[in-house]
Amino acid sequence: MQGYFGRFSGTMRRFLGLAAALACLAFPARAASPDDPLEADQAFRPTVRLISGTADTSGRHGIDIEYRIAAGYYLYRDRMHFEVLPATLLIAPAEFPRGLEVEDPFLGKSVIFRQSATIHLPFTVSSVRPGQYRVRITAQGCAENRLCYAPFVQELPLNIPPGYRVTDSPVRPLPPGLQR
């Protein structure tokens, strides 16, 4: 192959390269039009993190769900529901960041999250059995001024390692900026 293309002049090779690059660049531009709505899992990307009551976490323990929200999209706070499965691992009501309060002439007031949001699910037990769990989230959101997603479910695996302990009182005063 090297020998074959080596027969062509530098100008020809540059021309070939340019044409190939143009073709490669141009086709994805059409395939991924910015008008195409994202899948819910692309627009709203959650990750889950196990939190133990350390100084780093302000003494909180439980589960943090961090949402990365695509530009131009938002999640409704009050339409989110959380479960941990199997249900032997009990959680208290979710603690939400403040969010943005919006008023709609039809829908009234609601709180939405844009860009990112970290939601905390405190454990209501003092000890947690190690094992594999799943966090099941039901959520609703929209693409600004364009469309909304019917309630969608996202499931995330959660591993609680042996030795994990909830070492202090499960429900503590919330840090500033969080609300239950």
Binding site: L22, A26, D36, A40, F106, L107, A143, Y149, A150
Partner: protein, 183 residues
């Protein structure tokens, strides 16, 4: 190896690049948002069951129209609620020409009724549970977003399936294409 091969390759690549750049540069607005393949048979579409505001069972097959505009919506969906007054105006202008709208929502019937009255919606708003989004998905809305509007002919064949807001003037222009005589 043929000496003309690289020239042919260059030609093909250049043509592809040119064509794709042209396609990419064509306006993406106001083209409809991408809707996926329709999987529902017309008979199944017309037989799907919903409930009207009085709690009576309804099927799309009961709607006699040359074009049936099925709008999937929800009371919590702002873009849906924004486009509905436009639908009501189109319904009023096109009713005599055989166009019939129906709204389908997986929502609380009382809330749907209240919304309909508040927005002065002049077409039926029916509710259903999972059947609503199930039908929407089978009519091309794979990712499950709202609003979703489907134009059916009188037999339940899909003429168009569009997700996202269907602007009043665009819908009217489309109806003029479908019913060019305006009869």
């Amino acid at each position: 190896m043929k000496a003309w091969l690289p020239f042919a390759g260059v030609g093909v690549l250049a043509a592809l690049a040119g064509a794709s750049l042209w396609l990419a540069s064509t306006p993406t607005i106001p083209t409809p948002l991408k809707s996926e393949a329709v999987e529902a048979a017309p008979a199944a579409v017309m037989a799907a069951k919903f409930v009207d505001h009085e709690g009576k069972s309804r099927v799309l097959g009961q709607i006699a129209g040359k074009v049936i505009v099925v709008n999937f919506w929800a009371t919590w969906c702002t873009p849906c609620v924004e486009e509905m007054p436009g639908f009501a105006r189109v319904q009023a202008r096109w009713e005599a020409r055989g166009v019939r709208f129906v709204g389908l929502a997986n929502d609380d019937p009382a809330k749907v009724k209240a919304f309909g009255e508040r927005l002065a919606i002049n077409y039926p708003l029916w509710t259903g549970e999972a059947a609503v989004m199930d039908l929407s998905r089978r009519l091309g809305n794979r990712i499950g977003v709202l609003p979703h509007t489907v134009l059916l002919d009188g037999e339940g064949q899909v003429i168009e399936s569009r997700i996202g807001i269907y602007a009043e003037e665009k819908l009217e222009a489309r109806l003029k294409e479908i019913l060019p005589q305006g009869i």
